[in-house]
Amino acid sequence: MKNRVDEVFRRSGKIFIGYLTCGYPDDETTLEWADRVISAGFEILEIGLPFSDPVADGPVIELASQEALKRGMTPEKYLEIVSEIRKKHPDIPLITMSYYNPIARKGFKYIENLKKSGIDGIIIPDLPLIEGENFYRKINSLGIVTPMLIPPTIKGEYFKKLVKASSGFIYAVTRTGTTGARDEIPPEGIELFRRLKRETNKPVAAGFGISRPQQLTSIKNLVDGFIIGSALIKKLEEGEDIKNWLNWIKEGIKD
């Protein structure tokens, strides 16, 4: 089975992954923002299913989630919005980001529905491999990839297991802490990318806190892509030209 995520990482150059919270600031705008993010040149779109208690997220995504829920976002509406994006953009890889509780509540049938709506990958930040191994395998059996989040604190055998269980790409977390724009990539983050480079040939994408090309110089040769969430949402809120912004970042990391 071919997966759009795998296809994209066969291309040369760095892959940019944009994150949006579904239903923020409202359903219509989510669709519009998705168009803008895709036409700006982001190669993968990650779409968050909002949860009431997003402990892995910083203030921007937390607020977006709350706002989306207030406006009535549900797992069913999420499927509809994803289907619309898929219809308009047949080739863009789409990844679901969801906390475990909403997915568990809906049951595995929901994963099958995600697949039908055009989802290529699933990330569940609060379902670690140690608890979710079977669940992730079941997801993979549908042809959906499951990038594992690997933060700098993970070492040893478990590190190897996470690398092995990752499909599509490895979601390398630049730092301990939550999502949200920050300054530098700390030394333990850089060390993580070095370890990943030694360990695997799988594509590695760096996420958490990314907003400017200056941050990326220290890791750009160690990774295949970047994930931008909070900073992207901020730019969209401010009505900025996303294409210009992404080009500025891409230019900034060229040698």
Partner: protein
């Protein structure tokens, strides 16, 4: 990898971002070592005795016994230092933090009792301390905020969600994620990811072991009933733990029915469904889409949509009976205990007393009933007076 069992039946586990996994393993391994380290245990017991004022008395309640129609005993956690059972756990975990070489602790608090007990243990042992507290609770429990500050802790109001305990835990988890290698998260109840439910139960089980000794000395046998209020479940697990194997002792956990079980409440054991929140699989008050529901209790320490995984399992397996009491019943219970026994209980603990009043006449005269008075009511005076005033007008 983890060495202790992470599950109680189907509940428990570590449903939390990967970054915490190695930290929780490190915590588990320190806990295993500390629990076998006679020096550590000696220090813990010495502090409980000479600093926290343990053992707390088991008080016979003659006038309440007459009202209820059974022999009522009160386990007096309200007499422990800082006025609640919370100190048993915070002394234990603060020592564990020190044992692990961590100099900074953070904690969440609802009623402020766990925050005060954490700040107290931190001051005594000499650790830096920061407390996260929902903005709603900061208002409701002003005095406890002042106490924490006086004890040298920094109180961070959490102005998100409903501004209560759940939101304080979210924020504490985020702060912990930020500084995970240097900071110790001192969780206040038998909730959260493994090994917290096991650690908190271990340090709270002193309530049960004392009670067992005391009641056997007075009555020559175990009680017929042990009743405790349930927020996360730490005072309940603490006192139940000594009696779980004795099938003749009925264990009853009383949750907050708030404004009514068909309205806003926080009766998770009664009405929750399996779900995942704050690192554990347990019962949870959630809607059909898996979003966590808004909860309410007049007692800020019970105002939580989840519950400890072991307690959830004990209720599922039928060993513990889940019950509940409304805000109104609780205020009545405060009055009755104050007037009949000269004890003003915390609003949380008054839920356990309310159970007695609701079931008066259903006991046999010779039944021995132990009620855990998990804390004293000083912190709640404003809320209690307001509620009494409303009732009159």
């Amino acid at each position: 990898m983890f060495r202790l069992k992470r599950y109680y039946g189907s509940f428990g586990g570590v449903y939390i971002p990967e970054l915490f996994i190695p930290i929780l393993e490190e915590l588990e391994s320190a806990f295993i070592r500390a629990k076998r380290d006679s020096e550590f245990l000696k220090r813990y017991r010495k502090l409980l005795k000479e600093y926290a004022g343990r053992p707390t008395p088991l008080t016979y309640a003659p006038r309440l016994s007459k009202i209820i129609g059974a022999k009522i005993y009160l386990k007096r956690e309200d007499l422990a230092h800082t006025g609640a059972h919370k100190i048993n756990n915070t002394i234990g975990q603060a020592l564990l933090a020190e044992y692990m070489g961590k100099r900074r602790i953070i904690a969440e608090t609802g009623a402020g009792q766990h925050g005060v007990a954490t700040a107290t243990a931190a001051a005594h042992i000499g650790l830096e301390c920061e407390i996260f507290m929902g903005s709603e609770d900061v208002k409701r429990q002003r005095l406890n905020v002042l106490r924490m500050e006086l004890l040298g802790a920094k109180v961070v109001p959490v102005n998100k969600g409903s501004g209560t305990l759940k939101d304080a835990i979210n924020e504490a988890l985020r702060e912990w994620a930020e500084n995970v290698t240097t900071t110790y998260y001192l969780l206040g109840s038998v909730v959260g990811p493994h090994p917290y439910p096991a650690i908190v139960k271990f340090f709270q089980s002193v309530i049960g072991s004392e009670t067992k000794k005391q009641i056997r000395k007075i009555e020559g046998r175990d009680p017929d009933y042990v009743i405790a209020c349930v927020g996360g479940g730490s005072n309940a697990m603490g006192i139940f733990s000594a009696f779980i194997r004795n099938r003749n002792t009925r264990l009853i956990g009383v949750e907050a029915a708030g404004r009514g079980l068909d309205s806003l409440h926080s009766a998770t054991l009664n009405l929750g469904t399996p779900g995942y929140l704050h690192g554990t699989r347990s019962l949870l008050l959630q809607d059909k889409n898996g979003q966590v529901k808004k909860v309410h209790s007049i007692a800020p320490g019970l105002d939580y949509p989840g519950v400890g995984p072991e307690l959830a399992h004990l209720v599922y397996s039928g060993r513990v009976k889940a019950s509940s009491a409304t805000d109104t019943e609780v205020i009545e219970a405060v009055k009755v205990l104050a007037e009949s026994e000269g004890i003003i209980p915390a609003l949380e603990s008054a839920h356990a007393v309310a159970y007695l009043l609701k079931h008066r006449g259903e006991f046999r005269q010779e039944d021995i009933v132990v009620v855990n008075i998990s804390g004293r009511g000083d912190k709640d005076m404003e809320t209690i007076m307001e509620a009494l005033h409303e009732k009159q007008s």
